[in-house]
């Protein structure tokens, strides 16, 4: 029971970190970046290459993954999304899906479809306390997630750039007239989201070591679900949604059905959205006219 809870929180922490990227980009750029999940995969491969081919220490692998993904995220935004800033939402959505396939196919070309076996950055140890069994990966994942939550909350609430981000998310036009560069703020958001995706990728591959070009898809979709679940655009919502989703998934795997767990996860999402259309922590907003 407690083991499962911790496993759920750990998986949910990964979803939460990914969901932060979706929700921040949505909050600021008002778009769904469906390529976000694939940035996770790139992060995984980067860490893998650094440790496996270059023989670098795990921490250097994480650092490389974060740097590459941050640059990748900013580049994707500049090249693919920025030209569509005033295009209809559907055009942007289709571009994002295209970008997702582009990244997967680029990975296929670079690293082939053969699964790579990722070596956990913190080893495979675990601790046993009575009945409770916790892996080192789970502990590190939860700890990293807590640190990220605290840091991001402080950043958005206490710093000038965080204030700029909140201002842009509320009213782009007014923010610009206060001297805030909307382009710079959006770049920064993509940089943070993608850097976090890299960390999520490394944690995900440490827990589930099979690395293929589609590794990011399913966690990406689940994390997106988590973001909607918590209330898209809300940072605490993404955290809560992610963790709840992980816990529900692990519990339904353990107690209901291994095969139906994903169906149950999405069923819960649908029920929540029926009751609270804006998500758990989302605010009900009426469309501006």
């Amino acid at each position: 029971m407690i083991s499962n809870l911790i496993a759920g929180i750990s998986l949910g922490s990964i979803y939460a970190i990914i969901a932060l990227g979706y929700t921040m980009v949505y909050g600021i750029a008002k778009m769904l970046n469906f390529a976000h999940g694939d940035v996770i995969m790139v992060g995984g491969y980067m860490c893998f290459c650094a440790t496996f081919y270059l023989g670098l220490p795990p921490l250097a692998g994480v650092l490389l993954a974060v740097v590459v993904c941050t640059l990748l995220g900013v580049t994707i935004e500049r090249l693919a999304y920025k030209p569509l800033r005033s295009a209809p939402a559907l055009a942007v959505l289709i571009t994002a899906i295209g970008m997702s396939y582009f990244l997967q196919n680029a990975a296929l070309l670079l690293w082939t479809a053969n699964p790579k076996t990722f070596t956990s950055i913190v080893g495979y140890g675990s601790i046993q306390m009575g009945d409770v069994h916790i892996t080192h990966v789970a502990m590190v994942t939860i700890a990293v997630c807590v640190v990220i939550m605290v840091a991001l909350t402080l950043f958005t609430n206490k710093t000038k750039m965080g204030t700029a981000m909140r201002a842009v998310s509320e009213d782009k036009g007014a923010a610009q007239l206060m001297g805030i560069s909307v382009n710079r703020t959006i770049s920064l958001t993509f940089a943070i989201g993608s850097g976090l995706a890299a960390i999520a990728g490394v944690l995900l591959c440490s827990a589930y070591p099979m690395l293929v070009p589609t590794t990011g898809s399913m966690p990406g979709i689940k994390a997106f679900t988590a973001a909607v679940f918590g209330g898209i655009g809300s940072i605490p919502g993404a955290m809560l949604g992610g963790i709840l989703l992980g816990v529900i998934e692990i519990f339904s795997k353990a107690y209901i059905s291994q095969e139906l767990s994903d169906a149950i996860v999405f069923a819960v999402l649908i029920i929540v959205l029926l009751v609270k259309p804006a998500g758990l922590l989302g605010k009900q907003v009426s469309e501006k006219v």
Partner: protein, 252 residues
């Protein structure tokens, strides 16, 4: 040289000529009114001055520097700040943070500094908080610094918008109907505050108002706009006694 020089300014929306051949100068330190009936094109002028709209014709110079084609945040950095006819505060942000968005102009610390919470960064954050509180004090808003902007009473929201604009340290402050929706007492008080702000922050003010009696008390010079064109200009006394102006107001 005048602080603001507008020459032959014009803009069309499709077939509608919203502003046409507007010539206007605002001297350093002046308090100038831009008045006219509803729909005359006053807000459109502000939108052109701040880069929200790009004029179809004419030029705008601030301190001799061309503004046309610049982005709103660049124009803000050059020294123009504004408020809105329909209040556009950051409603979910606390009052203090609304003012602090205006400090974005001075990039005083780098990203790594803010990420790693360097000591110098903390000090700067503290200085910014103090500076923001000082501005709030002028508007008697310091007691409510932690309120969500949306929760302030209407009159205070209008004041907060002026405070936020001043935080950008402007040379020219544009106020779009700052007294709209206020009762006569509140309006009189606001006009006093504007006078005070102007001296205290040494800022030049261009103020839109559709009720001309209201501005005649504090403005030194008035421009009257009607159907997008300049109908009259001069001191309040001159303008108020101009028969064309009177007709425009009665007709509109």
């Amino acid at each position: 040289m005048a602080l603001l020089e507008v020459t032959d300014l014009g803009i069309s929306f499709g077939g509608l000529r919203a502003v046409d051949e507007l010539n206007m100068t605002v001297e350093q330190g002046a308090l100038v009114g831009l008045i006219g009936p509803n729909g005359a094109g006053k807000t459109t002028v502000f939108n052109m001055l701040t880069g929200v709209y790009r004029p179809t014709d004419g030029g705008i110079r601030l301190d001799g520097e061309n503004l046309v084609g610049k982005k709103p945040h660049e124009i803000c950095k050059m020294g123009i700040a504004r408020t809105f006819q329909n209040i556009r505060l950051f409603n979910k942000l606390p009052v203090l943070d609304n003012v602090k968005t205006g400090f974005h102009n001075e990039v005083t610390y780098t990203l790594p500094e803010s990420l790693f919470h360097a000591g110098s960064y903390r000090k700067k954050e503290k200085q910014m908080d103090e500076k923001a509180m000082e501005i709030l004090k002028v508007f008697d808003l310091d007691g409510q610094w932690d309120y969500k902007a949306a929760n302030l009473p209407y009159g205070k929201q209008r004041k907060l918008e002026i405070a936020r604009a001043l935080a950008t340290d402007p040379k020219l402050l544009l106020l779009d109907e700052p007294a709209a929706g206020m009762n006569p007492n509140e309006t009189a008080e606001l006009m006093e505050t504007i006078e005070l702000v102007r001296r205290r922050f040494q800022v030049t003010v261009l103020l839109i108002e559709h009720d001309m009696k209201l501005v005649s008390g504090i403005c030194e010079y008035l421009y009257v706009l009607n159907f997008g064109r300049l109908l009259a200009q001069g001191t309040p006394v001159e303008v108020l006694s101009n028969p064309e102006v009177v007709t425009a107001y009665l007709g509109g």
